[in-house]
Amino acid sequence: MTLLDVRGLTVTYPGGAEAVRGVDLSLEAGRKLGIAGESGCGKSTLALALLRLLPAGTKVGGEVLLDGEDVLTMRWGQVRAVRWAGASIVFQGAMHSLNPVHRLGDQIAEPILLHGGAPPAAAKRRAGELLEQVGLPAARARAYPHELSGGQRQRVMIAMALACDPRLVIADEPTTALDVMIQAQILRLIEQLVSEQELGLIMISHDLAVLADTCDRLAVMYAGRVVEEGPARTVYEDALHPYGRALSSAFPRIGDPASRFAPRGLAGDPPDPTDLPSGCAFHPRCPVALDECAVLDQPLREAGPGRRAACVHVGAAVPPPAGPAQDVRSTT
Amino acid sequence: MTADAAPATPGRLARQRRRQSAARFWRSYRTHRAGMIGLAALVLFALMALTAPLTVGSGVAGVTDAPGAPLEAPSLDFPLGTDRFGRSVLGLVVWGSRVSLLVGLLAAVLSVVIGTVVGVTAGHFKGAYATVLMRITDWFLVMPALVLAIALATVMTRSLGTVILAIGVTSWPTTARLVRAQTLAVESRPYIERAKALGGGHWHIMSRHVLPNVMPLVLAQTTLMISSSVLAEATLAFLGLGDPTVISWGGLLQDAREAGAVSAGDWWYLVPPGIAIALVALAFTLCGRAVESVLNPRLGVAR
């Protein structure tokens, strides 16, 4: 059975901002799905919505089926039981996501105790084991968050996420605040743990290259929607949606001197979620927009084996010229 | 700053800008219901104090030919009864508002002026001067202000000036701290660097750049300080440290206590002055908090 099946998920904040506008995703156990997009595209909101962690007053619609059960219609007691035990989150910026006045071991053991996994002594032992699993000495359980480096704190977050043997781990920008060497270590660690334990992984990042490297499939989000989805490598190397192309060329590619000297980007900012453009939300920034794009919304459509994209050019007789260099304006 | 930017009509531009920001401030202030209630109460109290010579007249405070018998209960003639000399308590409360509000206002202004001068200079001149000044501020901050004020009022002659001075020189440190923080924030902005590069001296920077930027904060602080000054004035008067020759709310309460109104249960003598003090203090507090949250929504007052 599908581990996670998200159908038509919508999120509207109290101020009227539509952060997520109809997202469909699915994930099998043991697979890794990447979600990419600029900041403000709704990817972190999506992560919080999966466990109903959004502030009171936020309207959430659609279905989030975790092992076949809809998280959005569960009773609160059941939601709390699913949290961490069914699906856990590695938050971005572990600096602030750990409680500064509690010892790390206690913070890791807290969900184990809460979900009745073990008596206190065993939970404590388990916390030590988890720390060793992520490459930290078990003795660090007695330390406080401020005594660790950024990379070590992120390892603690990962250890904590694994504490209750969840079926699904959501990693929200797990490596953003880290330097490149540490970033690579953390990514390897996540990959290794996921493959060892047959977990489902959702990894959220603005860095397409990182996701292409780590994940099986990749979904690109723009203005609260998935605009492109497909096998990670293909989406990264040969995006069909102009936004996907812009995103993949925004980072210099190793071994491609041309891209290093002329990194490509996208002019302008993501749209204001309280005041989205008409038609295709991307059309004001789109280098290949047609007149109809300003009027007609573009749904996701089949675009080859296992691929979908939401662009007027996709599925049309002639695909637009590929190759990021020609059709994406460079940022200044 | 405006003056530098538009040499043609600097004055008019500056005035226009000030008018605009005042209008913006008012629009935002109007949305705070508690602040509006406080403001309305203040307007009423101010009117009462200003019109007191017409409504009750200074004769109300005379002891010799008081209109009623001592300690009469409320009646149609005396809606709030009479005091120990047979004077109308209502008249006394109205008349007393003049001294209570005046002393509260002046003491708050004195306190805020000291605090602003200390804060701006401590923020502008760094180094030993600022360190010493802030140590003094911290010392005053921890000091029990009322004890200090009582000590001051005890050793000086009984007069309104003494009360104003005693309250003013003991209550400034909060303002100094806030103003200094704001000064440091303002001085880290790039245009101060520019003004310095253009040869702006200390006085120019403090008076033309820092002061206009800390003024809103000073306004909020003054409003809050009036509230505590009114309370402090009442307290000093109640302890017998006020000017015995004038009528004030705190003095009325002291009179009432001395006349045995407490044990006799003469509530009408005690209740009105206290309510007046509390209402004025509350009104200024509400206004001050509203101003504060308009200026700095993150201060946490209105959230």
Partner: protein
């Protein structure tokens, strides 16, 4: 001074920076406290000597006094000595606990203080525990449901009581609950600390009976400050990411609050509670005066109505030093409560 409560956490959050520096931090704080105490001593000296010009004149306050008596007083208080000698003399005596002789009671000031101190500690301690607990409890609830009706009522009541003069509230309490008003009988004594002639448990009950009204008055005027401080400290924590983590772990809302949010908000609150002790001293003086409580506050009132300058000065020194010492203790306590600041 509501702004004290709301903004002071920013001003006060001075923390030592590194892990092994606690002894140095203690030394620094103790040094600072010593300087502050010295400043109190100097202020006490000049306040009561320079401003009035001649303390003896102030002391005798217009009563007919013969020149011989004046000279006698001068010698007694050492006013015939040069200023510098007076000062060193005063410091030496103050440091050895000799605060002079009360003009009014003809007894050493220090004896009057030690006599009244336990009574004040009883009243203040009881009220302090109650208003801190009440303020923190209501402040936490208020912040957790901020913007709701309960929060508005809570903050509104706190602000109102905060604006009420403590002595007036005390007088009303006496009229209503001690003298009795209309149908309400007088339930409590009008003042003092005991009715006399009781021993053992009956004495304890009697003191407790006398304690009720002053404590209620003090709690009513002081808890608002703690409430506002706690509320704003907790509101500052509310947006924190670690609370989302705690929620994501599946913790119940009240556990998120109790176990994660409150401990973090407590730290600035604790400091502020101690900084505000200065205000509490004012409250104590007035409440003791109104209820004729035989403590330091009542003594202060008696001293300043004479005025009994040695006693006023001695009590000034005592109150100021006590507040400084309590604040220093709070500063020393802070790093022990906050693990971010090493020991």
């Amino acid at each position: 001074m509501v702004s004290d409560a709301v903004t002071a956490p920013v001003a006060r959050a001075r923390r030592p920076r590194t892990g092994t520096a606690y002894p140095r931090y203690v030394a620094g704080k103790a040094g600072g406290a010593a300087v502050s105490l010295l400043a109190v001593l100097v202020t006490g000296f000049f306040l009561f000597r320079l401003i009035p010009g001649d303390p003896v004149k102030t002391m005798t306050g217009g009563r007919p006094v013969s020149a011989a008596q004046l000279a006698e007083y001068r010698r007694e208080f050492g006013l015939d000595l040069p200023m510098w000698e007076q000062f060193t003399d005063y410091c030496r005596k103050a440091l050895t606990g000799d605060l002079g002789t009360s003009y009014q009671f003809r007894a050493p000031v220090i004896d009057k203080i030690t006599e009244a101190l336990p009574n004040t500690l009883l009243l203040t301690g009881t009220a302090f525990v109650l208003y801190t607990a009440l303020g923190m409890f209501l402040g936490t609830r208020s912040a957790w449901r901020h913007g709701k009706l309960g929060d508005k009522l809570n903050t509104g009541l706190a602000l109102t009581l905060y604006s009420v003069p403590s002595f007036w509230l005390g007088l009303l309490m006496i009229i209503v609950f001690a003298v009795g008003l209309g149908p309400i009988p007088g339930l409590f004594p009008t003042g003092g600390m005991e009715s006399g002639g009781k021993e053992g448990f009956a004495y304890v009950l009697d003191v407790a009976h006398h304690l009720v009204l002053p404590v209620i008055t003090l709690v009513a005027v002081e808890y608002g400050q703690t409430l506002l401080v706690t509320r704003s400290a907790l509101l500052d924590e509310m947006g924190s990411d670690y609370l989302t983590t705690a929620r994501a772990k599946g913790l119940r809302d009240d556990l998120v609050r109790r176990r994660h949010a409150v401990p973090n908000a407590l730290l600035p609150t604790v400091t502020l509670v101690f900084v505000n002790l200065g205000r509490t001293v004012a409250g104590v003086i007035l409440v003791e005066t109104v209820f004729s409580w035989p403590g330091l506050g009542g003594l202060f009132y008696q001293a300043l109505s004479v005025p009994d300058l040695p006693l006023v000065q001695g009590l000034f020194l005592f109150f100021a030093s006590a507040v400084i010492v309590m604040n220093t203790l709070a500063d020393l306590l802070y790093p022990l409560l906050d693990p971010r600041v090493g020991r």
